[in-house]
Amino acid sequence: MIKNLIKFFVSLFALTAALNAFAVDLEINTPGVNAIKQSMQARHAELAPLYASGAVGLTSDGMVSLRDAGAVPLPQRQAVNALVAAENRDRNALYAEIANANGHPEWEAEIRSTFAQRWIQRAQPGWWVQSGGGWSQK
């Protein structure tokens, strides 16, 4: 009886270890994810100078935000607002798409917070990032 139980738990452990091994990677190579990625990549050329000037910063919820409108000349402000809105639309779609691609739409919030941390951690020196509600410069 005890021996059987031990056998049972050993095989259970082996099974869970095997299941974990299959789940080491998240699926991010789907047409949906790739399309969003390309759109964001193209937009980054326009966003990079705005990050550098401090006009736009990275928020703690994985978005971007116009943090210093004064750094943008008035005539360009509308274009920058549109750029920020478009980027945030893509980011929202990206997080949802990754969650869906992996069959777990409920993971979206966790994927978002993982991305938020990584965007901020990988931000270049001089860029502005949000931490605990306030802005700080990398």
Binding site: L19, A23, M40, H104, T114
Partner: protein, 54 residues
Amino acid sequence: MNRIWIAFAALALSACVTINIYFPAAAAEKAADKIIEEVWQTQKADKPVEKEQK
């Protein structure tokens, strides 16, 4: 006796399901890094990507 096994089988099954719905934080971080690298093209940038300690 039989009942005990049924109970264990149920426990085992629920354990499997639990593992399956568990959020894979490390995998998500890896996926995020890969996408961020491509979007920001940090690999080709003049500034080297530093690997931060978690």
